[in-house]
């Protein structure tokens, strides 16, 4: 990134490098949005082998709660942790009520249940919050930030910073610490993990809490970017996030992060340069298919 920046500095008149840099930044912003959503899915997949589509419903809920709380209290700083915590707890409840009883079933069972749940959640939001979507009374974090000659909104910068920090920390946690190893042991064989003193159920609760809270944070930031929360806002992220965790090599946090950024960047350039032939979703999935044909186990196979 520094390298690009120098290029821009040296040839300020080269409009293209400036544009590319800006597209790159936009891709990264978009990618970090994907990342923060996908990582929760990745956590759940890693632990339970479940494609947890309803995760996107929690993302939406995060957006709603963040917005309502901010409008009510006037403080985003206050609203974010509260919304994240509430959504985290709801995530835990979803695990307990929905997934826990069907863990020994083949994975498609949970997948369909999850899809059903997601549809129902969207409808509940629509019935409660209305179909039109909600906006912030006075949207926070909209002030401008200058970043190497590019105007960005604080919310965009915040998104990137928050997701990079959270995900790096999480990745470190899972790879290097005893807790992380224990977490991954539960993935492989919960019964045996219990046999060595790891409380599999607690690990899962924690897992759902963290994943769902992250989704909520993601939802809040997205709502800040578009100043709009709608019942259906989880749709796109949900299947993009599925694609991302697969690209990243299912259950691999680092892979998820990199795949998310990659996808964000490819989409950013793609919409501009090949948007005429393929729409954004198609670009994303074309990338997915190509990569999977070359590396059937995703970018970062194995652990």
């Amino acid at each position: 990134m520094t390298h690009r920046w120098r290029a821009v500095q040296t040839y300020p008149e080269t409009i293209y490098s400036m544009l590319w840099f800006e597209l790159l930044i936009q891709g990264i912003i978009h990618g970090s949005m994907y990342a923060i959503i996908a990582v929760g899915l990745s956590l759940v997949y890693g632990l339970l082998r479940i494609l947890h589509v309803a995760h996107a419903g929690l993302f939406t809920l995060g957006g709603y709660l963040g917005l309502l709380l901010t409008n009510a209290t006037g403080s985003l700083i206050l609203a974010t942790p509260v919304a994240a915590a509430v959504v985290g707890v709801i995530g835990m409840i979803i695990y307990r009520v929905c997934y826990h009883p069907i863990l020994d079933q083949p994975p498609y069972v949970a997948l369909i249940a999850s899809i059903g749940l997601f549809i129902a959640m969207e409808e509940i939001y629509r019935l409660i919050f209305g179909p039109y979507g909600l906006s912030y009374a006075r949207p926070p974090l909209q002030f401008q930030v200058q970043f190497f000659g590019i105007q960005l909104r604080a919310a965009e910068v915040g998104m990137v910073v928050v997701s990079t920090v959270l995900l790096t920390a999480l990745s470190y946690l899972s790879q290097k610490t005893r807790l992380g190893i224990a977490w991954r042991a539960t993935v492989d064989d919960p019964q045996m993990a219990a046999s060595f003193g790891i409380d599999a159920v607690r690990v899962r609760y924690l897992n759902f809490f963290i994943g769902s809270a992250l989704a909520a944070v993601g939802g809040i930031y997205v709502s800040l970017l578009s100043n709009l929360v709608e019942p259906t806002m989880g749709g796109v992220p949900s299947y993009k996030a599925l694609a991302i965790i697969v690209l990243g090599g299912l259950g691999n946090l680092k892979g998820t992060l990199i795949a998310a950024l990659l996808l964000g960047i490819v989409e950013a350039f793609g919409t501009i340069y090949i948007g005429q032939w393929l729409d954004r979703d198609a670009i994303a999935f074309a990338l997915l298919i190509v990569i999977l044909m070359i590396r059937p186990q995703g970018l970062f196979a194995g652990r």
Partner: protein, 234 residues
């Protein structure tokens, strides 16, 4: 140290073990013998907390642990080398060992690991490899090593010698007896009757879930014919 009182256990709609009484003294080695499907593994996994108790109770160090979770059992010093190894296939060898020592303080982990490496030097070169890619015998070594990491007082071993080369069988039995001498209580399920009888102090023979013979290893060795008869029946 461990008392099974009228223990009956099994799975959803079938009972694998019936009315089993067994006394395990601290510092002893007990061999559980029996033909295929006799219920040896079920008994072991029931002690470890993974098979549902239908009747009777399990007393461990004077307290009734019949209802406690596998987790609290491992904290109180019970470790298991399960049938089929049940390693964490996508964790590395080293990480498998870390999980083994999860209930012990972190500082003790390194020391434990060094001991396991001494016992199974073969694992030393494979520390970073995923457990699922180990050869059959290496997996068995890792399964034993993992159980030892939790510094158990009671070690439950299912099919100690399964898949091990003769030389390694010797090493394992030597290790078991050494650990036993250092105070560890061991329950051994073994198809290799001969080796089991050599190592054990007490023998229990199961047949279709019932204990059909119990006695000291000495008696059993003297009674080899009879034991064989039990084991031969299918």
């Amino acid at each position: 140290m461990l008392h099974l009182e009228g223990l009956g256990c099994g799975y959803r709609d079938m009972q694998a073990v019936h009315d089993l009484d067994l006394n395990v003294e601290a510092g002893s080695i007990t061999a559980l013998l029996g033909a295929n499907g006799a219920g040896k593994s079920s008994t072991l996994m029931c002690i470890a907390g993974h098979v549902e108790i239908k009747t009777g109770r399990i007393i461990y160090q004077k307290s009734d642990i019949s209802d406690s979770t596998p987790m609290s059992r491992v904290r109180s010093g019970i470790a298991v080398v399960p049938e089929g190894r049940r390693l964490f296939p996508r964790l590395s060898v080293k990480e498998n060992l870390v999980v083994g020592g999860y209930v012990r303080p972190k500082q003790r982990s390194d020391g434990g690991m060094a001991k396991v490496m001494d016992l199974f030097p073969r694992l030393k070169d494979r520390l970073g490899q995923t457990a699922g890619a180990l050869s059959g015998g290496e997996q068995q070594m890792l399964a034993i090593g993992r159980a030892l990491m939790s510094e158990p007082e009671l070690l439950l071993v299912d099919e100690l010698s399964l898949g091990l080369m003769p030389k390694m069988v010797d090493i394992c039995y030597d290790a078991i007896t050494a650990l036993n001498r250092a105070g560890m209580t061991i329950i051994l399920v073994e198809q290799n009757t001969h080796r089991a009888l050599e190592a054990a102090s007490q023998v229990c023979v199961l047949e279709s879930g019932h204990a059909v013979w119990k006695g000291s290893a000495g008696e059993a060795a003297g009674n080899q014919e009879m034991i064989n008869a039990f084991l031969g029946i299918r």
